[in-house]
């Protein structure tokens, strides 16, 4: 039988039983408003549902009854016994039809006109009030409330008299079956009762586990056999109770065909929705949680993912777009796939957006895979901007979807190919109450890790083939052909009692969060165990590394680790590589003060003292074998990623035959790359760059104390120029006296990182902002500068608009404003001056920039002196 019809029958049978008693109650107390409302509501519901299911006979009857009841409720008709009788007759007829429906799944044939006529007559009789006495048909309704108790047989007969036809027919009606088949098969149980049962069963499972654990320690215990039985029964009971909470996932899909149809109409697209595995069952609670995210994702697919028919035709695809939903069980989890064959995610737009929002630097972006870039759509607030959704789609609230899925211990993955479509895969536990967890030990403490996040286990050290390797002090593992970042659980949980012994046996729990894998280093791995997740006490809620706690089979309490929380705390996850470096942090806050902390790459090149370069400038670190280096004239080249990349040795003797491999710092800017050959990569540190000594040596900005050592900060521009001839290498003498404070605005992180050290070395104090808006915020904060250097082409407010905004407000109106642009044409210069720029400097001309700044500052000093 159709699910809807079955539900309807169950519900209607319940309603009908309730109606019988309510009507009798009404007959005895005609002015009981509560009962009247209840009856009206019940009949109204029946009517509404039959209309929906397409049961015309039932609907007409219910409709007529409802009309009469409506008049009762409004007080226009008094529910006298005669009228009640007619209603009861109608109810009986409804029961008859419902019984027929149950038997044949179709409305039985029959004629209800007489009964409906009687009902209508009753209603109209009431309508002619307040002249009841004059209307013969109003016999029932006309009875005054003064004699309501006259519910005698006589009164009934008298009142029934005006409607002889129905009563005649009613005699023929077969007696309604006393008990309905459907009603007997299902009963309604309050959800609370089921929840309580589940809690109790969870406790029982725990108690059973404890008993089993005890029994295992005793050989030949007389309890073994009964315990085994208890265990089986408990398992069956657990399954049984779980089943009561199970609902087919189709329940969450019911509304989707309609939604898709409406969306197709609105957007003028042709969409076909196919659903597989609707019968896959999952816990009611889980179902509630995923309902909204599912709807959201299907809406996204229909709205943004799929193209219009015309676009599809142009792309050589069938006009009708497909959205498919697929649900199935896999290893104690439910997998739900939402796939479309639409345009896919627009990686470029997402990358641009991420850059604009300061989520990532250009250098980092250059190293990110497409999949990693796609993950940005899960970032909070990322998608709210219309620009992305309008063009590439997907997005509004994907962060909410992800949060909701993760809240129930699920995971969400996204695979998209431009022009081919997008598939979102959700993996959720069958139930929230009991989860399977891997028990691990770390620093003599045990912890549970939800099995859903565990990909594999690797044993290292202690004679096994694999070993943990270290880059500086960061542990990593070579896992097949990938480098797996490792997290020492003991360090993370501050359980370290000293450094871990090298080479000792350890286990790595390879954990998956989003699309990223990482390894948790633990001391030992025990079994997996079914655990009941309990929330932690309120005073522990601020520790985000735990998702709950539980009691194990041996009765001890154990904390449950939250892989998502761990990933967040170490900077792994949907964020991509972004949050790991301090540079991104600073870029995010939109202003980087030269006095602030910067991530620096320390290396050695020509000489024993360390050299440093802002990490943000370095696109990649590579190692090349010296025999790959080719010479063209006096230039060194290497084939790199299908291109020839110029190499510049930094005081390194490339002809030294004892060294066959050389580390190379790769700098990328737009499509260009160059490699700086050094002796050794030392470390990545975060420190304050305070250049204390200028340098006269080309290529070195000066020296600063980095990580407690005198370190030379290299002038990237100089080295880039050697490779690309774009840069001029002379240094400008630092200005004396008080260090003038400059505000530098440039949307390119590369140039910001470039300019800040250059200007700092030239004796200025520098604050950098990445957008004009950020700069204007500094004005709102009351910051004062001596001059402003601004880029012209920027997303959002451009340089011209910024200049006008600066001139409009008295606070900064008098400041010298130097325009920085890659495009110098007379018209531009004119336009720049009109907008309020004091001077105009080519972006790559450092000499001119430094001279220009010095000049505008000098002019200002003179003006002020006057």
């Amino acid at each position: 039988m159709d699910d809807l019809l079955a539900d309807f029958l169950t519900e209607t049978n319940e309603s009908l039983a309730e109606l019988d008693t309510a009507l009798i109650r009404l007959e005895q107390a005609p002015d009981d408003q509560a009962t009247l409302s209840l009856i009206f509501r019940l009949v109204h519901t029946i009517k509404g549902t039959c209309g929906f299911l397409g049961l015309p006979r039932l609907e007409k009857l219910a409709h007529a009854s409802e009309n009469v009841l409506g008049r009762f409720r409004d007080g226009a008709l008094v529910p006298a016994p005669g009228a009640i009788t007619v209603i009861l007759q109608a109810i009986d007829r409804i029961k008859l039809i419902v019984a027929g429906l149950e038997a044949t799944e179709a409305e039985p044939a029959g004629d209800d006109t007489a009964l409906i006529g009687a009902l209508n007559a009753l209603m109209e009789g009431g309508a002619s009030l307040p002249a009841p006495a004059a209307e013969p048909l109003a016999g029932g309704g006309g009875e005054t409330p003064a004699e309501p108790a006259a519910g005698s047989a006589e009164a009934t007969e008298a009142n029934a008299a005006p409607c002889p036809a129905p009563s005649a027919e009613l005699v023929d009606s077969p007696v309604v079956p006393g008990e309905s088949g459907v009603a007997a098969q299902t009963i309604r149980v309050s959800v609370d009762v089921l929840e309580d049962l589940m809690t109790l069963v969870s406790e029982l499972v725990l108690a059973r586990n404890q008993l089993l654990q005890l029994a295992r320690t005793q050989a030949n215990s007389p309890f073994t056999v009964p315990l085994q039985r208890l265990s089986h029964i408990t398992t069956d009971l657990q399954e049984g109770v779980m089943k009561t909470r199970m609902q087919p996932i189709g329940n969450a899909w019911n509304k989707l065909p309609r939604l898709v149809r409406d969306l197709a109409r609105e957007t003028g697209k042709r969409i076909e929705l196919s659903m597989h595995g609707a019968e896959t069952e999952l816990d009611r609670q889980v179902l509630e949680f995923i309902k909204d995210p599912l709807t959201h994702m299907v809406r996204n697919s229909a709205d943004h993912g799929l193209e219009t028919a015309a676009e599809r035709r142009a792309a050589g695809k069938p006009e009708t777009g497909r959205i498919s939903l697929n649900a199935f069980h896999e290893g104690g989890h439910i997998i739900i796939e939402i796939a479309d064959d639409g345009r896919g995610l627009n990686t470029r737009r997402i990358a641009e957006k991420a850059l604009a929002q300061g989520l990532v630097t250009e250098a980092e972006l250059a190293q990110m895979s497409e999949t990693a870039i796609h993950q940005f759509i899960f970032r909070p607030g990322f998608s709210t901007a219309a620009a992305v959704t309008a063009v590439s789609g997907r997005g509004v609230g994907m962060d909410v979807v992800k949060t909701n899925i993760e809240k129930i211990g699920g995971t969400i993955e996204l695979a998209s190919r431009e022009g081919r479509g997008t598939t979102v895969t959700i993996k959720i536990p069958l139930t929230l109450a009991i989860v399977s967890a891997l028990i691990v030990e770390c620093a003599r403490e045990r912890f549970a890790i939800p099995q859903i996040s565990v990909v594999e286990l690797v044993r290292t050290g202690g004679g096994s083939d694999t070993a943990i390797e270290r880059i500086n002090r960061t542990p990593v593992l070579r896992l097949r052909d990938r480098l797996l970042p490792l997290v020492r659980l003991a360090s993370l949980l501050a359980l370290d009692d000293g450094e871990a012994q090298e080479g000792a046996e350890a286990f790595i729990v390879v954990t998956k969060v989003g699309t990223e894998n990482f390894g948790l280093i633990v001391d030992r791995v025990f079994d997996t165990e079914e655990i009941v997740v309990k929330p932690v006490a309120p005073i522990l809620r601020d520790i985000t590394l735990f998702s709950g706690n539980t009691i194990l089979g041996d009765g001890s309490v154990i904390m449950i680790l939250d892989p998502n929380g761990i990933a967040r705390s170490v900077g792994i996850g949907a964020a991509g590589a972004a949050e790991r470096t301090g540079l991104v942090e600073t870029a995010k806050s939109a202003e980087v003060t030269a006095g602030g902390r910067t991530s620096l790459l320390l290396f050695r090149a020509g000489g024993s003292e360390p050299k440093a370069v802002p990490l943000g400038l370095v696109a990649r670190l590579e190692e090349i074998t010296t025999d790959r280096i080719e010479r063209a004239g006096n230039r060194l080249l290497v084939q790199y990623r299908g291109q020839l990349m110029p190499l510049v040795p930094m005081d390194v003797d490339l002809d030294d035959p004892t060294v066959t491999r050389r580390p190379v710092l790769v700098f990328s800017d737009g499509g260009r790359s160059m490699g700086l050959v050094v002796d050794a990569i030392l470390d990545v540190v975060e420190d304050v760059v305070d250049i204390q000594l200028g340098s006269s040596r080309p290529g070195i900005l000066g020296s600063a104390v980095i990580a407690q050592r005198a370190t030379e900060i290299i002038d990237t521009g100089h080295w880039l120029a050697l490779a690309a001839h774009d840069w001029f290498a002379t240094r400008h003498a630092p200005a004396g006296g008080r260090r003038p404070h400059l505000l530098v605005i440039d949307d390119s992180a590369f140039f910001r990182h470039m300019l800040v050290p250059v200007l700092t070395a030239a004796g200025y104090e520098v604050t950098a902002a990445e957008t004009a808006d950020a700069a204007l915020r500094l004005r709102e904060q009351g910051q004062q500068f001596d001059a402003i250097v601004s880029d012209i082409e920027m997303p959002g407010m451009d340089g011209f608009a910024f200049a006008r905004a600066v001139r409009e407000d008295p606070r900064w109106a008098a400041l010298p404003l130097v325009a920085l642009t890659s495009r110098v044409a007379d018209a531009d210069i004119l336009r720049g001056r009109e907008a309020g720029f004091t001077d105009y400097v080519a972006k790559f001309d450092r000499e001119a920039l430094l001279a220009g700044i010095a000049q505008v500052l000098a002019t200002r000093r003179e003006t002020e002196a006057v």
Binding site: A537, F546, S556, V557, M559
Partner: protein
Amino acid sequence: MTATAEIARPAQPVRGANDEARDVYVTLTVGGQLCGIPVLLVRDILGPQAITRIPLARAEVAGSLNLRGRIVTAIDLCRRLGVARAGSAPSMSVVVEHQGELYSLLVDHVGEVLRLDAEGREQNPPTLAPEWRALSTGIFRLAGELLVVLDVAAVLDL
């Protein structure tokens, strides 16, 4: 699990109003100091327990333990009050309920249950260390000893 002893609750109507019943205290010693907790708040007295450490939790949180299937957070009362533990012996604990959650207060020793006259309660001396003043609601002068009444809600307000 070791033996637990359930405290017989004083029947409330014995002396009528709730206020008077609150004057029954479970006494305990923390770092040598006699303290009292209103008996109505006390759910259990436990002997030494296996306590699971909770990494990253504040120092006052000793860990969590299993009390008949319920997870109870253990608070080290010595740490909370900033005193040194008198002996190194495993602590006893007093389980209290606060806002629907169970907490076990680790103490050096649990003593007898005293019924004290409400009028005998005195204000905290103003010279008392601030952490003690914040966690105590008054002092009783007993024969030869002073009893500090602990404010359980304040103690658990971490």
